[in-house]
């Protein structure tokens, strides 16, 4: 009888171990968002470190190994990660699900309306892909992500939904604070190194006057830098926004000649020490820029 009781007790306590969903994302920001929804039900890894330029990633076998073990590969899309198909092919993972979060974005910026060619630089055919830098896009991104996680692990739907709702509540509070902080600077003019900040600027009603790159992806040229110096002198431009992975030579020349300020903002989690997750990334970007514009 005692033996039977022990067996029944063991059966009662034993529950089959549920497999976690293995997710690989292209960017660290997406890895954070997946982790916020999935909690301990997901294992998340990423390809591009926050201090790397996501446009230029070498196709390494070690990245393919990450995808080989993954259930889901989450990417920004809109041809930001032109290297992604080679990684997917090299992973040999026939079960891998690929989720392009750009499908969630209703209002894409800078979508070409005429023929695109290389004379325009590295222009993205489907529009500017840096939409994650507008936190108002995050709810739509999380909805697509949530549906995919539920599809893969339907038994965890309640947990995923609760996590998503909790995170969005926290994010909404942060967004309201950030908007309030930046409100006095609406209409402020900035120059950016690359067209990474179009969504960010639209959200905060900033005006991106020009880029340090003469055309997307094209290195700064002396003539364009000279033109920017003239523009800054006459255009009350307050800051030059540069990501951590770009060279500072041309921005420093403009700043030296005009007295404007260079601001190092990060497009991704891990690009600066303060950006340990998506919210702290945006917190860092907004407060740093506000600090410069306030001067």
């Amino acid at each position: 009888m005692r033996f039977l009781t022990l067996i029944l007790a063991a059966l009662t306590l034993w529950t089959p171990a549920r497999a976690t969903v293995r997710v690989v994302t292209t960017l660290t920001d997406l890895a954070d968002l997946v982790g916020q929804i999935g909690g301990d039900r997901v294992e998340v890894d990423y390809i591009v470190r926050g201090d790397q330029n996501p446009h230029f990633i070498e196709v390494k076998p070690s990245y393919m190994m990450k995808l080989k073990r993954a259930d889901l590969f989450v990417m920004i899309g809109m041809e930001l990660e032109l290297w992604a198909p080679q990684l997917i092919d090299g992973s040999r993972n026939a079960q891998l699900q690929v989720l392009d979060l750009s499908t969630a974005i209703a209002e894409k910026l800078e979508v070409p309306t005429t023929r695109v060619d290389r004379s325009q630089g590295d222009v993205h055919r489907f529009g500017n892909p840096h939409y994650w830098l507008d936190p108002r896009n995050v709810p739509a991104m999380l909805e697509v992500l949530l549906q995919e996680l539920i599809r893969i692990a339907p038994e965890d739907e309640a947990l995923f939904r609760a996590n998503r709702d909790r995170y969005l509540e926290e994010l909404r509070a942060s967004v309201a604070r950030w908007e309030s902080l930046m409100k006095p600077f609406a209409g402020g003019k900035i120059i950016t190194f690359h067209r990474s900040w179009s969504y960010f600027a639209r959200w905060l009603s900033l005006t991106v006057v020009d880029q340090v790159e003469p055309k997307p992806g094209i290195p700064p040229s002396p003539s364009h830098t000279a033109a920017l110096i003239d523009l800054v002198r006459t255009g009350s431009i307050r800051a030059i926004v540069v990501e951590p992975f770009y060279d500072l030579s041309a921005p420093e020349r403009i700043a030296r000649e005009t007295g404007t300020t260079i601001v190092r903002l990060s497009t991704s989690v891990g690009g600066v020490d303060e950006a340990v997750d998506y919210r702290s990334l945006m917190e860092y970007n907004v407060t740093t820029l506000a600090g410069v514009l306030r001067q």
């Binding site: 330029n53 230029f56 070498e58 196709v59």
Partner: protein, 379 residues
């Protein structure tokens, strides 16, 4: 005229495949790219026989035009076609197929991948790369001597498997090749009209991340086939390769790469098809062991410049007495990614044979452009 007709057909095909303005994202056409290389060069070895060392008049030559069509066939497979018009004669040369193959990427058991067609086989590291991807102008001597100018590029079927080594990427690739590439290296033309002299190659590759910013790839390859179709003599190659790359930022990278190739073969004739004779003047079959290596270092800075050097040492497939050694310095400038490039190279080559020694200096300036899709570079 023939080449013109072919070019017109090809351009017509390209235009037909090109998406109309504004509809690029809606088409199912393959990716198209065109890469062309030109070379201004001079060397001081052409009059050495007369005892005169003098740089030749700078020649401006067409090196190669490559047209690539690449795309997916279906959810499981893709196909790649590389057409080339080789130099230096632009008018007289004809368009050829450098590679055409289909790759089965997913859906096979054991996560195997397969490839069939005509392709650069997975033998060593540099053999898979097209010349415009090299950081230098000239092919490493050991590759040229043992594999030929076109490298190991043959009709074949390839299978590749990932080995169960945990987080470490380790692959084993094996090829059954028709053997048509061997003549490129040996110079022996098969006129026996016999069955294909099949060859086999294989490569074991392991990839090691070294910290956050560096990676190391190690490879061990083998290649065997019949090099003399008349005597049915066989050769065996073993090749060790490595590539180390340290990339601390988008703007800077240090690459060190090298390969060592070891050749064993039995042969009754040399490369010129002259029978080997023993001291008594009788024909004999010899067992030959020879080798070759190259090692290069390339340092990329400010993203658009790179500078480096290469050392070559190589014996010959049929002789240990024919030796060559070279030192090379190269500088590359890619002003806008890889759409347009300029590469300057100086190479000093010393050759040594029973007939004597000679040293030749070569200076070359390569101009190249790349039109169309720029795929991310594999490691």
């Amino acid at each position: 005229m023939l080449y013109r007709a072919r070019l017109i057909v090809l351009l017509g095909l390209t235009l037909c495949l090109s998406p109309p303005p504004g509809r690029g994202q809606l088409t199912l056409n393959p990716d198209i790219s065109v890469i062309s290389r030109f070379l201004l060069s001079t060397e001081d070895g052409s009059r050495l026989e007369e005892g005169v060392r003098q740089f030749s008049q700078v020649d401006f030559a067409f090196q190669e035009l490559e047209i690539a069509l690449q795309g997916y066939l279906n959810p499981y497979a893709r196909a790649d076609l590389f057409l080339t018009l080789p130099g230096p004669e632009l008018e007289g040369s004809s368009l050829g197929v450098e590679e055409v193959y289909a790759s089965l990427l997913r859906g096979l058991p054991l996560d195997l991948t397969a490839r069939f067609g005509k392709y650069r086989a997975e033998f060593g590291k540099i053999n898979r790369q097209h010349p415009h991807m090299w950081p230098f102008i000239t092919q490493p001597l050991s590759q040229e001597h043992f594999l030929g100018e076109e490298g190991l590029n043959d009709l074949g079927i390839s299978l590749s498997i990932l080995l169960p080594t945990g987080d470490l990427y380790t692959s084993l690739t094996a090829d059954i090749l028709r053997g048509g590439s061997i003549g490129e290296a040996t110079g022996i033309e098969d006129t026996t009209d016999g069955a294909p002299l099949y060859a086999n190659s294989a490569r074991l590759m392991a990839f090691f991340p070294v910290g956050d910013d560096a990676d190391l790839e190690l490879g061990l390859s083998g290649y065997t086939g019949i090099h003399d179709p008349y005597e049915r003599d066989r050769f065996w190659y073993a090749n060790l390769d490595f590539k180390y790359k340290y990339r601390p930022s988008t703007y800077t990278a240090l690459t060190v790469q090298g390969e060592y190739l070891l050749n064993w073969r039995t042969a009754s004739k040399d490369r010129e098809f002259t029978p080997f004779l023993n001291p008594a003047g009788e024909a004999e079959r010899r067992s030959i062991t020879s080798s070759g290596l190259y090692l290069y270092l390339d340092y990329q800075f400010l993203r658009i410049f790179s500078v480096g050097g290469r050392y070559d040492w190589s014996q010959a497939p049929y002789s240990t007495e024919d030796r060559a050694e070279a030192g090379t310095l190269f500088f590359t400038y890619f002003p806008v990614e890889e759409s347009l490039g300029i590469r300057l190279q100086y190479q000093h080559t010393r050759t040594e044979s029973p007939d004597g020694r000679r040293g030749v200096n070569f200076i070359g300036l390569q101009l190249l452009f790349s039109l169309g899709v720029h795929k991310a570079h594999p490691f």
